[in-house]
């Protein structure tokens, strides 16, 4: 019996070794639409900054990648349940998330931006002037954490699951101002008549990283190496310039 077990485990170890030498399969999760990071183009094909970066990274790692669409709420549970191996969906690195997942080095960082109707002329950093205002944020984002911690007792905070619902309430005058990831605000709020950016964009947090399961330490190293190469050899800059007018590199 013992011999059989030893033989079986040797065979398994050999198979694992063989699989390693071959092209590996990786599944990468995105939450769409989140323009310009990941969204579907007119043909229904997945594209965007992070999607192109993921493609370049897979090429660099010599991996066979499959892209998976996953709603934001189930992102981390899906990763832990092995539905996919990597999250490249604008997941900001936070200590709370780092308890659950392993992050790569950050690969981009966008600031949070304040957006409001044209007639809004309050200084968003002036706590006395902001007193009693209603601020909209997306639940669980670094913008949410910032507003909760910095202005918690001063303003009333409304938390939304999607940016669409939040913009609808800004249009309906339920919100005085929203604090949202800058590119998202640019796409959703500024694209409408009668809205403007207010105050200065705020750099928040440690940037966005690739999230993996905690035990996949080797994978994390490979990801870090691949990202470092892309940042150096100009591939990263080419992709970034395609989608952004400003610098998001980290």
């Amino acid at each position: 019996m013992r011999k059989l077990i030893v033989a079986a485990s040797v065979a398994l170890a050999m198979m694992a070794g063989v699989a390693h030498a071959q092209e590996r399969n990786l599944r990468i999760a995105f939450d769409v639409p989140y323009e310009p990071f990941e969204y579907k183009d007119e043909n229904g094909d997945l594209t965007g900054f992070e999607v192109e970066l993921a493609e370049a990274m897979c090429e660099e790692m010599n991996a066979n990648c499959e892209f998976v669409i996953q709603a934001w709420d189930g992102m981390i549970p899906g990763l832990l349940a092995r539905k996919f191996d990597l999250i490249m969906s604008s997941m900001s690195i936070t200590p709370e998330r780092a308890e659950q997942v392993l992050f790569s080095e950050p690969y981009y960082n966008t600031p949070g931006g304040w957006f409001a109707p044209e007639d809004f002329n309050t200084d968003v950093t002036d706590m006395e002037a902001m007193e009693g205002m209603t601020v909209g944020v997306q639940r669980g984002t670094t913008m949410d954490t910032f507003v909760t911690e910095e202005m918690g007792g001063v303003v009333s905070i409304k938390r939304y699951t999607t940016a669409d619902d939040m913009v609808l309430d800004l249009e309906g005058q339920r919100l005085d101002v929203v604090f949202v990831d800058y590119p998202v605000g640019e796409q959703t709020v500024l694209s409408k008549e009668g809205f403007k950016e207010v105050g200065e964009p705020v750099k928040l947090g440690q940037g966005v990283g690739v999230a993996m399961r905690k035990r996949d330490k080797e994978l994390a190293e490979e990801v870090n190496d691949a990202l470092a190469t892309l940042k150096e050899n100009g591939t990263y800059d080419t992709i970034m310039e395609k989608y952004f007018a400003y610098d998001v590199k980290m």
């Binding site: 709370e96 639940r139 938390r159 005058q173 339920r174």
Partner: protein
């Protein structure tokens, strides 16, 4: 605070004083929302149920249409229409209505009240229709007017028949109130969603809130059993 609770709170990341307060705030909102919508819904439903039993189609028809409309569409859709729809009406922001509908509480209360009133109307109507004709004939023989008959005979008798079905509606309403969190209201479910998205611990955040809902349901079931015992005590066998 007893020592063992303080110790329990110190040993985990999620149930800190601030999250407990958030859950408490959510509990207060849920109870307010459900209680107010049930009371208002019942107050609306009783006259509507009487109208619904009328033989005149001009009285009966509109009530039928109302209950059909609100029972024929999902509560979530009704909530979306009332919350987001009202804000899209041109110029509503300048009227006094906006004071009421700017927040999320009153739109949710309106949606829940209209919804539960529709179901309750049909429950009471069914109970009124099932009144034994002998009771009504006896009341007529006593020379009771329509109003007196309704007040003394038909409605009390209908209440006894309707209370079991109504207790289901109350529990259903408590659980349906969980969708209030989609319009930014921080009820029990909203608090759980906020805490979940802060700590990424779905089991802890949602199982706790499920237990709170179960405790609330237990209280409701208990209260309705007492009420049923009271209303139906004349049917209990006389113990020797």
């Amino acid at each position: 605070m007893p020592d063992f609770i303080a110790e329990l709170l110190n040993r985990n990341d999620i149930f800190t004083a601030s999250t407990i307060m958030e859950y408490w705030g959510g509990l207060v909102t849920t109870v307010q929302l459900v209680f107010l919508s049930l009371v208002l819904g019942l107050v609306i439903a009783i006259p509507l149920a009487i109208m619904r039993t009328s033989k005149n189609p001009l009285i009966n028809g509109p009530v039928w249409f109302y209950t059909y409309l609100f029972r024929g569409t999902p509560l979530l859709i009704q909530l979306y229409i009332i919350y987001y729809g009202l804000a899209q009406i041109e110029g509503i922001q300048q009227t006094f209505w906006w004071e009421i509908f700017r927040g999320a509480f009153y739109p949710a209360l309106l949606a829940f009240t209209l919804n539960t009133a529709a179901y309750t109307t049909e429950i009471i109507r069914g109970a009124i229709v099932a009144t034994p004709s002998g009771e009504i004939e006896a009341a007529k023989a006593y020379g009771m007017s329509w109003a007196l008959r309704m007040r003394r005979i038909i409605l009390p008798s209908a209440a006894r028949r309707g209370v079991q079905a109504y207790s289901n509606e109350v529990i259903f309403m408590l659980h349906a109130s969980a969708i209030a969190s989609v319009v930014t209201l921080v009820d029990l479910t909203g608090a759980a969603r906020n805490i979940y998205s802060r700590f990424y611990a779905p089991f802890d955040a949602f199982i706790f809130v499920a237990l709170v809902y179960m405790a609330l349901t237990f209280i409701l079931v208990f209260a309705f059993r007492k009420l049923e015992n009271y209303l139906l005590q004349h049917q209990r066998p006389v113990s020797g």
